[in-house]
């Protein structure tokens, strides 16, 4: 390949990039239109539509762009896992959906979150409160700190129900007992009067789940629900999620960095990096035919039983500083396949199949041609 050819190719790519920039708002992705029903997802009802969500935090050091244009849909009864390293914006995304971005530092700069057609980002706080805990619930990472140490389990279970629905104390108590039974806590009637410190970690996470489900929400956001638990308890909790989903057809967003958890219960997977979803697709597609170098890197860095004696391959380097996020693909600095274009322009979203989309320049025909040439 001579210099002239190379220059020509570069120029072409640049032209194409400009076109893409004009025609496509950041984060709007082709994948929204193309989706395939998986075995479990029978419903076509979209519970949640997140479009070009951008969240920033104002700090003394400047503005941190934590979420930089995230779009995805969630269907009824579906489990979407959002995976990524610490600080990639997965928790901020879930907090933004829930309306729990810390004020006044955090601001939703752009984008929309539609829950069953209702726009959440423009809602007033009191309007939001009618949805929080009723239609959308959240489960937190650490069950040791998520429960108030000075209130009984019974009170923490029933207070949401009593706030949102007109039920008597007795009815609320009855419902609380049912919930504790559902999540597998023995002697629920006596347990209601106890305080969090009288339960083990796994039990507390079950209680947190019971609290989240007591108002029968349609969407459950679980922010690393098993990270703080030991492995056997993890498995139990994941099974509980599956059981509950079968019973209630609830939609779940699962935030995690544990690919093992994802493999067990997710239907679809969104891979986040530096505030963007870089690849999204069915579980099988992501695990067996990952396209983004970052996804590949993530999968390679998971220990595997069938590869005895081989060394783990960590992804070298660290994620970019989100105070001044890179113009181009944020993964460029760590990417073994990085090209010059990656540094300057963020790639557009390419739909690989109906249910699999990726943001990477390697998917561009010219890039493929370039690789072959060199």
């Amino acid at each position: 390949m001579n210099k002239h050819q190379l220059d020509h190719a570069k120029e072409q790519i640049k032209e194409r990039m400009d076109e893409v920039d004009k025609s496509l708002p950041v984060g709007t992705s082709v994948m929204q239109k193309n989706r395939k029903k998986t075995k479990k997802v029978r419903s076509d009802i979209k519970v949640l539509q997140v479009n070009n969500l951008q969240v920033s935090f104002r700090t003394y050091g400047g503005e941190v762009e934590a979420v930089r244009g995230v779009s995805f849909n969630l269907h009824q009864g579906e489990t979407l896992a959002i995976v990524g390293e610490s600080g990639c914006g997965k928790s901020v995304t879930s907090n933004a959906i829930m309306g729990l971005i810390p004020q006044p530092a955090g601001i939703i700069k752009n984008g929309s979150v539609l829950f069953k057609g209702k726009e959440l980002t423009s809602m007033s706080k009191s309007q939001l409160r009618k949805i929080q805990g009723v239609d959308i619930s959240m489960i937190f990472q650490d069950p040791m700190t998520a429960l108030n140490p000075t209130l009984t389990i019974g009170e923490q279970l029933t207070e949401g129900l009593r706030t949102h629905k007109r039920v008597s104390k007795q009815e609320a108590k009855q419902k609380a007992i049912e919930m504790l039974e559902l999540v597998g806590i023995p002697n629920p009637t006596e347990r209601l009067k106890q305080f969090p410190h009288q339960f083990s970690g796994g039990m507390r996470q079950r209680i947190v789940i019971a609290i989240a489900l007591i108002c029968e929400p349609e969407l459950l956001i679980a922010d690393e629900p098993t990270t703080a638990l030991d492995v056997t308890i993890q498995a139990q909790i994941l099974e509980l999620f599956e059981e509950i989903q079968q019973k209630t057809n609830i939609s779940i967003i699962l935030i995690t960095h544990d690919l093992g958890v994802v493999a067990k219960i997710a239907d679809r997977i969104a891979v986040m990096y530096a505030g963007k979803i870089v690849e999204i697709g069915d579980k099988r597609a992501i695990f067996y035919t990952p396209e983004h170098p970052y996804t590949k890197g993530l999968l390679n860095s998971v220990p595997r039983l069938d590869l005895v004696g081989e060394e783990l391959q960590p992804i070298e380097g660290t994620p970019p500083d989100l105070f001044s996020p890179p113009k181009g693909c944020p993964f460029t600095a760590r990417c073994p396949y990085a090209m010059e274009v990656c540094e300057h322009v963020y790639p557009f979203t390419k739909a690989i199949s109906e249910s699999h989309a990726v943001d990477c320049w390697l998917q561009d025909e010219r890039a493929k041609a370039l690789q072959e040439l060199s």
Partner: protein, 311 residues
Amino acid sequence: MGKYIVKRFIMMIATILIIASLTFVLMHLIPGSPFDGERTTNPTIQANLEKFYKLDQPLHIQYLSYLKSIVTFDFGPSIKKPNESVNELLARGFPISFELGMATILVALLSGIILGTIASLRHNGLVDYFAMTFAVVGISVPNFVLATLLIQQLAVKWDLLPAATWSSPLHMILPIIALATGPTAIIARLTRSSMLEVLTQDYIKMARAKGLSPARIIVRHALRNALMPVVTILGTMLAGILTGTFVIERIFAIPGMGKYFVESINNRDYPVIMGTTVFYSAFLVFMLFIVDIAYGLLDPRIKLHRKEGDA
């Protein structure tokens, strides 16, 4: 719980006994006697007086009769004011001191907690800065300085409130302000810092995720946890306020117990010293006991009784 109370009660008695004994020793270590004055007393009269008050007997006998007077809570007549018994003095002075002290604590608790909570909710806002400036000033300015200032400005210059004595609710305002400012400032600072910590806890986020009202989250979930340090200092603060009342009672000419307490020491009025000291210490120890009980009520993780076989 019952076991704990019995145990605490025995400890309370022991504490009071130690305080009483120390007071007795200190009382007799101070040179001078109740009958030392500017006028010299006739030796025969003095001997008779000493005999009447049993001051001529050896110290260990005096100590024993002193202990007896504590147990029966009868300290006999005052030496300086022979027509009044110590019990009468206490019965007259204590309700006033108690009223002042309790009103002060109540004002300090209410305004301190409210101020601290608002400051924590408006963290680094204007209200926060104002409240914390007030707190620093409140802690730094001694209550007698504040009292004099209040009297000068509000009572003398502007003639808004009565300057002294204790006869109507209006008379109570200035001494309560003077006495409560310091504790208010301390409570406000404590509440603010512990609220700031509690507000970042996961269970507060969880309460918000439940869609509860902000008022419920603050009162039921945050404050209850944030008040633990406040309860902790409340015990010692009570002592501070009760002893602080001596000065304030003097400045505002309030006929509380403080006057007798200070005067009795100057006069070596042994029965009154004993009476007031024992009474105050008993009261204080009882208050600390109440605080401990409150602790257990606020935080279920604190167990007041030990497990069987543990003790």
